[in-house]
Point group: C2
Chain length 341, copies 2
Amino acid sequence: MNNSSLLNIPNKMKALVLTEFNAKPELTEVDTPTPTKSEVLIKIDSSPVNPSDSSFIRGMYSSKKSLPVIPGFEASGTVVATGNGFMSKRLLGKRVACFAPIDGNGTWAEYMVTRNNFVIPLKKGVDLEQGSMLMVNPLSVVAMLDIAKKGKHRAIANTAAASALGQMMNKLCLEKKLPIVNIVRREEQVTLLKQQGAKYIVNSSDNDFLTKLSKIFHELNVTIAFDAVSGDMTFNLIEALPVSGEVMVYGGLSEQACITNPGKLIFEKKKLSGFWASEWINQQNIVNLLLTFNKIQKYISSGNHTTIHKRVSLDNAVEGISTYLDNMTLGKVLVKPIGVS
Amino acid sequence: MNNSSLLNIPNKMKALVLTEFNAKPELTEVDTPTPTKSEVLIKIDSSPVNPSDSSFIRGMYSSKKSLPVIPGFEASGTVVATGNGFMSKRLLGKRVACFAPIDGNGTWAEYMVTRNNFVIPLKKGVDLEQGSMLMVNPLSVVAMLDIAKKGKHRAIANTAAASALGQMMNKLCLEKKLPIVNIVRREEQVTLLKQQGAKYIVNSSDNDFLTKLSKIFHELNVTIAFDAVSGDMTFNLIEALPVSGEVMVYGGLSEQACITNPGKLIFEKKKLSGFWASEWINQQNIVNLLLTFNKIQKYISSGNHTTIHKRVSLDNAVEGISTYLDNMTLGKVLVKPIGVS
C-alpha cells in the first residue's frame, strides 16, 4: 500500500465495543483499522468521558451510528499512519487532538481512524491529557458565548455549572466581563465556583431556589439560559426569566423530559430551543474554527487546566462513565487505552 | 356632562363580578360606567365564552386585571353613549363588535365602557350574534396564518381542531390551499371536519396516534404546529415534526404543563414558543387591522357562520363556561345580558 506509517502497527487491537444501545460496551479484540487517502490512524493516549458519551450509549444521541460500534467522541494521541493524501501525510508523527468520524468507530480503543480534518495538531504547551479535551467542552463554551453575543444577550445563565464545561464557561465569562448566573445543586459546588471568582451562584437545592433565581435573573436582566439538566430545571428557568427570555437546552442530565408552563410561552414570549455543538460547528468556516482552536490551546497552555479526577484503562472504562456522571464536580475521567501508569 | 347618549341609561346594571381568581364570578348589581372622551358605552347584546375567559378566571392569564373585575373579552352590542371626542361620537347608535379594555371591566354585563379604537362597526350582513365573535378567534386564525406565511411554512398543523377556531382555520387553509393537519380527540370530530372538507385529520385517541402523526407530518413536510392543548400533546407534536420543526403553543386546554424530549431540541433543532393574538395585534398597523376586520366581516356575511350551541343569560353564564369547555365541538356558548328569548 501507499500509506505512510511510523512503526509496526499490530493487526489486532483492544477496543470497547457497543453491540446494543442502552447496554454495556464490552472489551473486545478487533482488527486495527487502516486509513484511506484522506484519513489518519491515531494511537490513542487519552479520551475523556463526556455526558454526550452517556447519551450515545443510552441510544439518546442524535444520529445513532450503525452497530456494533466503538464509543468515544474525542481523544488525543499520535498519528502513526496516514492515507497517501498530502493533508494526511503532513500529520504523520504529530501529537494531535482528534474527533471520531461521524458514522464510524470512536476513541475508546487503542487506535482510531478518522478524517484528517477531524484532527488538530497540539501546541508544545498542551500535553496529551489536556489536549484530549480540546474539542467537546471548549467548543461548546465558545459556541454558546458566540450565540449569546450574536443574540445581544447582556447576561446569561448556565446549569450544572460546576461541571468542567460549566467551570470553563464561568472563567471565560469573567474574562469577557459577561455576567453569568451559575446554577449548581450542592453547597460544595457553590464553594468551588466562588474560589474560581464566580459572582452569581444559585443552589437549586435551596428551598427558595425559584425566588432567588427569578430575583437575580431580573436584576441582571438574564435573557438566555443554557440548560444541561432538563426536567424541572427547564421549568424553573422558563419561570424565572424576564419576558422574552430563552432557554437553550444542551443536555438531559436529569434524564427527565423538559417541562414548561404554557402560559409563559403564550403571554411572556419565552422560548425553548436546543443547542448542539456539532450544529454550530457546521455553520462555521474552517478558518474561524482553526482560529478558535488556536485560542483554546493558548488558553490551556497558559495554565487553564481541566481537573482530572481519575484515569481508567479500557478494562475499567465502563465503570469510569458512571463514576464521572455521579461526581462531575471532582473532575474529568480519562480513558487511557495505553494503560494507567 | 358633554357626553352624547341615545336613551336613558339606568344608573345600575347587572354584571358578573370576579372577586377572587379561581373562584366563581357572582351576579351582582353595580354602577353603570360612564365613558370619558375617547371611550364609548356599549349595551351588550352577545358575548362568547372563549378558552381565554376560562384561563383568565383561573388566574392563568397574562396580565391579571385588578380585582374585583367583570370578565369577558369580546362582545357585540349597540353604542348607547359616548365621550365627547369626535372618534367616539361618530360611533353613537352603531351596531359594533367590541373588545374589553386592557385593565378594566369586561363584557359579561349589561353595559361596558371601552376605548373607541377597541370597537368595530358591524356591516349589514353580519348580525349581532356572529358579530360578537369577530375578534378573538378570527384574528387568531389570521395571525397564525400570517406567521405561517412569513415563516415560509408550506404545511401546518393545529390541535383542538374541531373548536370554532379550528374549524375556521381549516376552512381558511382550504381556501388558501395551504395543507393543514387537523388534530382532534374524538371520532365524531373526525366526521365533522371531513364534512367541512378537511383532507388531513388525525385522532389523538387512536393507539398509533404518534406513528400516524409522524408519517403525515413527514409526507406533507409540516414545519409548524399550533397547539391549543399543551401537556402530552406538545410532546407528541415535537416528536412527530421533521427536523427544525416548531410548536407554537396558544392554549392550555389539557391544563397540563408542556412536555418536551430534550434530545429533539438539541439534535433536531426543534423549537417551542408561544402565540398570543394580542401580541400579534400590537405588531400590526391600524390600517392592516381594519382591512383584516373588513375581510373577516365579508367572510362571515358570505355565510361562514360559527355554530352557536347555546345562549345563556348572565344568571347562567358560569355554567355556560363549563358547558362550552366540555363540548367545544358542539359550538359556541353566547352570554346574553339582555336575556335569552
